[in-house]
């Protein structure tokens, strides 16, 4: 749903015309630019420690859990709801996953970690559905239902083991967390990177052909190539950086970490869900005008339940990543994550008024937040002071976004 204005694109090659022909999402570019500035500044003030393969690799892993959940929070907020329970639900789900593999099915090999994943996903999906049901069919505001959820799930996470830490986890499960064995190595990273590049090219060609076929406007060919380049270069750079981080003892390239692969897959799937499916279209319609959605024959209540089911399933994915990374089930895992997830979505351009937001933006938002946090850790800032900075940045980012939108509309 982006705008093209053919008149300026084809007549004169003015600066405006060039921008229009490129048909880029300027807001997204601004976000990427802001992230770039943060990275460069931190690299300068830390004396070149920030922009190293090792730090970037860690940054990517640390972002994974919040980024995964933020993609679901986009749908929740776009539909004018909120979910304050994701951090607590992550704690409970992670605990259940740990208990299943370490206490119920220890020494059962692959069955134990698969059961942990399936069990956790069923639990979190069902809990999400239950929250959605209270919101949609019982009319309790999402804020209240999920605030209650925050208290309940965190309490239950403690109750599962009376606060005891659960370990050890299945080694195959720990791969999800991206530890030393949790990467796919240089070869497979290149295979994936090249496959991604080919897919991007194929998509561009296909889209152009479809638009031609239906008589829609197309970009000039040079602009098409430029846009493609903007997508391809980061992919290749990403693979190169991930491969440049060598395993400390053996010196073997790490490659893309498994949790980051999960985030990439989740981002792709959720982008398709949000922009290419009926469900996603209805979520946006509900956010834009709930009454119109109802009058159009959309079953708003049922869609609401599904939004929270999807959110729950993504919490399960986030829980698997976070728990595997800690190599143990702790009842405090994911504390304050609800705020990080909401902040990531909002910094990524999701409007709390509903109806507006992108999956990719939320992932960028999560990466931006984690970059700030990691940078401050490298600078040795005490963690309470990190929160002071993050809080200020959140207000500033939302103000900036609102001003941008007002100027634009």
């Amino acid at each position: 749903m982006t705008a093209t204005s053919p008149a300026t694109a084809t007549t004169r090659p003015t600066a405006r015309g060039v921008l229009d022909a490129l048909d880029l999402d300027t807001r997204m570019l601004a976000m990427v630019g802001a992230l770039g500035v943060i990275w460069v500044v931190f690299d300068l003030v830390t004396g070149g420690v920030f922009l190293t393969p090792r730090n970037l690799w860690n940054l990517a892993v640390q972002t994974s859990s919040v980024a995964t959940m933020a993609t679901g929070m986009v749908l929740v907020i776009v539909a004018r709801y909120i979910d304050l329970s994701v951090g607590a639900l992550l704690g409970l789900t992670g605990m259940v996953m740990a208990v299943i593999q370490a206490r119920w099915l220890p020494g059962m090999g692959d069955i134990s970690w698969i059961a942990a994943l399936v069990g956790g996903a069923l639990l979190a999906g069902a809990v999400g559905g239950l929250q959605g049901w209270w919101i949609a069919y019982r009319g309790v505001p999402a804020f209240i239902v999920t605030l209650a959820g925050l208290l309940i799930y965190r309490g239950l996470a403690w109750w599962m083991t009376s606060g005891q830490t659960v370990a050890p986890l299945n080694p195959s499960f720990e791969v999800i967390g991206g530890g030393l064995d949790g990467s796919i190595g240089a070869f497979w990273s290149w295979v994936l990177g090249i496959a991604a590049v080919l897919a991007l090219v194929a998509r561009a060609v296909h889209a152009r052909r479809r638009r031609r076929q239906f008589g829609c406007l197309t970009r000039p060919l040079w602009a098409e190539a430029a846009v493609l380049l903007v997508q391809v270069v980061p992919v290749i750079a990403f693979v190169m950086v991930m491969n440049a981080y060598l395993q400390p003892r053996t010196g073997i390239p790490m490659g893309i970490p498994v949790p980051v692969l999960i985030v990439i897959a989740v981002t792709l799937v959720m982008t398709v869900v949000a922009t290419r499916t009926r469900f996603g279209r209805y979520v946006f319609a509900i956010g834009g005008n709930p009454e119109a959605a109802e009058l159009s024959g959309i079953n708003v209540k049922r869609i609401t339940v599904w939004i929270f089911v999807v959110m729950g399933l993504l919490v399960a994915v986030g829980a698997a990543i976070a728990t595997a990374r800690l190599k143990a089930g702790l009842n405090a895992t994911g504390e304050l994550d609800e705020l990080r997830v909401i902040a990531a979505a909002v910094i990524g351009g999701t409007s709390l008024a509903g109806g507006v937001g992108t999956i990719f933006g939320a992932v960028l938002g999560a990466l931006t937040m984690q970059s700030l946090q990691s940078g401050m850790v490298l600078l040795g800032l005490p963690s309470p002071m990190q929160n002071v900075v993050i809080g200020a940045v959140l207000v500033f980012a939302v103000w900036l976004d609102q001003s941008y939108r007002r100027g634009k509309l």
Partner: protein
Amino acid sequence: MTAPLVEMRDISIQFGGVRAVDGVSLDLMPGEVVGLLGHNGAGKSTLIKILSGAYQASSGEIRVNGEPADIRSTRDAKKYGIETIYQTLALADNIDAAGNLFLGRELMTPWGTLDEERMAAETRGVMQRLNPNFRNLTTPVRSLSGGQRQSVAIARAIHFNARILIMDEPTAALGPAETRMVADLIRQLKAEGIGIFLISHDIHDVYDLADRCAVMKNGKMVGVVRTKDLSKDDILGMIIMGKNPVTGAVVY
């Protein structure tokens, strides 16, 4: 004699203690335009929202083609070929024209994804008929003018082979040229045998188009008259005084 397309019999609805529609009966024949008139708050929108499935009547019966119709949702109404242009337009402001036109009945690709290109192409076709100047197919309808938004709402109602069309103040935001196009469209649809309810609070909007005029006041039906039997002033009198010129009955 053919059965009426729609018969609404003794329809009532209450909101809290308020009877927004009180024992109203009205019918519509194929190829007929019925103007529904009345002051602000007379109950016009509420009555037609019962027919379009947005509200459930507290009592009364609706028949479509002589058969009792069970309309509990807007989806049900659409199954009976009832399409509605709502007074509020009922557009999702953050979605483009094509997305709104197909909202709730999207065209899909064989892979189960939205077929944006085909929806855009069909939208361009319908809009051509309504508003040839309309080009903003891919911008959110929020940034369209009032008239353009109204065109999108009209396009959505006529695109899906309506047999019964409800137009709640369809020209409120349109300029003279667009209003004329909508009048032409109404005549054209009428010639195709579609029955149309045309709602307005202004007799001038409907006098030249409506075969019959129904006048409501305070939730009750003042009367249903053949337009050509009465002058504009007579009907205006009905709207203001609430007096049925034939029976002499008065609604207060």
